[in-house]
Symmetry: C2
Subunit: 323 residues, 2 copies
């Protein structure tokens, strides 16, 4: 496949949804969760108010997708989750093999072909009267909902408009960006600023003015013929990693580097990478079109390549729906 | 009262705990909470797992203490809570007057004379399938537990050992420090580092190496005869504010400024200010004694002044325990 194959510059999904199986119980039709060692309908899932995962945002997570009944890079997600736990000095009350089974079972409870799963470790809490972090017993919980799109396929076809926030992404000197954490107030407030400016989503800078990442995605820009994605101060996103691997296979020059807002404004193509939607074109930035204002040829190529492979079960592990 | 009155350099509390009333129900003896519009025992209080207050740490709070049946600066806390809501563009589902009643009722349920209350607003969540922050309905919740000491009175008498973390406090260019938020992973990991170094607690720096704050407290240091507390990038703590006011009354030079780790190492006195314990002496830093290794005379004076006034109901509002 070469770039010239992408004649129409139109995003194509082999399919944007697959037929679900029946849930094990109608109560699971909106999603499932695993809390306190048991499965429950997602709407019933709760966290103790005193858990420091909430009161101190002392938590980490992995977001895993299934597509057409296949988890994507499940082992890589579990490996990264273990790495995050180690970096936060947490100990899982559940062995990793058990977490794998829980992830399968969450999807099986709902019967979803296309699913969005989040596994979460929180610090837990010390006994009332203590503030000693060392007395906390870490807690595991997880949930599954239907596959989540950062932007719906129709919106992706048009391409997103991006706002470059003046806010600085919580820096790596404060919080380890290699841990998938919940420190998102910078993203949240930037989103509100971006909406005010008429944009669909936002990207934040670092203290030096370099672009970092947005709420739930990494970014790629075609700068001078090479697809560049910020190299530091960002999450090592699974779809980012996948995109770099795909580019290598497709013979597209790509790699990590520094990009500024100025680079983005001059880029011929920009796209976002996320577990919640894959490869998502950005067609305007700060109100100005990116390139000719349509998804660029490299974007379309990577998108096509990503989705055809996902549908075929690439790097997949079949969901165990049970009999 | 002058500094020379403090002859013994010993912390004195008028009392370190007061007799409680009976809880309205034995289930409230460990604490109370207000969730989903109803009161419940604290151990039963939960947050929906999908609330962005957790999944995005999109929340703000106020921590309010009662001492000897008197709330301290309750109106100031409610005012600051309203300011935080505005800065986060949240809308309270409960009018402020109702929140005041809830705070009273939380303590009344437990019967505590000395109480620690937290009022919390979370972003809420959008419907499943959406990621639009504008569709979130903000949620109010609160809890009450027995008065919490950052360090027990006996430990305060000895004074705390402080560790200066190399981590940078989540900066104000990322998250508004005037909002009392839950972005605490920098504190949490610094605490673990500090414990490894044998310290009791930690303080973090900003990107320029200036001291900021620690987990739940502001800091004051006697630098060249003046009590200095970091002026920027920190929460406008209620006990910090109170201490500055007290210093003015007591004729102690005090104010906001920049202090570095070097300043702390040269300081003749250091203390922490917090709703969870008031004025707390630091007697060693990085393993070296502060001054002569005992709570300094200004520290003892401010401490004495703070606690005698608190006990007398200074800036207080009597808890409505009901009949």
């Amino acid at each position: 496949m070469t770039i010239t194959d992408v004649s129409e510059r139109k995003l194509v999904w082999p399919q944007t949804a697959h037929a679900n199986r029946e849930p094990v119980d109608a109560r699971f039709d909106r999603g499932s969760a695993y809390v306190d060692g048991a499965f429950c309908p997602i709407e019933e899932a709760k966290l103790p108010l005193l858990d420091w995962g909430f009161l101190r945002s002392d938590a980490c997570q992995e977001t895993i997708s299934a597509w057409n009944g296949q988890f994507f890079r499940l082992q890589d997600h579990l490996d990264r989750f273990e790495r995050s736990l180690k970096r936060l000095r947490m100990e899982s009350p559940e062995p990793v093999d058990r977490i794998r089974e829980i992830v399968h079972s969450l999807v099986a409870h709902c019967g979803y072909a296309d699913a969005y799963v989040q596994i979460i470790m929180t610090r837990g809490r010390p006994p009332i009267g203590s503030r000693d972090i060392r007395l906390c017993k870490n807690r595991f919980q997880a949930f599954c909902m239907p596959y989540m799109w950062l932007a719906q396929p129709e919106a992706q076809q048009k391409g997103l408009s991006l706002y470059v926030s003046k806010r600085v992404r919580v820096p790596s000197v404060s919080v380890d960006p290699l841990v998938k954490h919940y420190h998102w107030l910078d993203f949240e407030m930037s989103l509100l600023d971006g909406f005010d400016a008429g944009a669909d989503t936002v990207v934040l800078v670092d203290a030096n003015g370099n672009i970092t990442e947005g709420p739930g995605f990494n970014i790629f820009a075609d700068v001078g013929g090479k697809l560049v994605t910020p190299a530091t101060g960002v999450l090592d996103g699974m779809t980012r990693r996948t995109t770099l691997e795909l580019c290598e296979e497709l013979g597209l020059a790509a790699g990590g580097g520094n990009i500024t807002e100025q680079h983005l404004r001059q880029a011929s193509e920009i796209f976002l990478t996320t577990t919640a939607g894959g490869i998502i074109p950005v067609t305007s930035i700060g109100g100005q079109p990116v390139g000719d204002g349509q998804a660029g040829p490299k974007t379309v190529l990577v998108h096509k390549s990503y989705w055809s492979r996902r549908t075929a079960g690439w790097l997949g592990e079949a969901v165990k729906y049970g009999s």
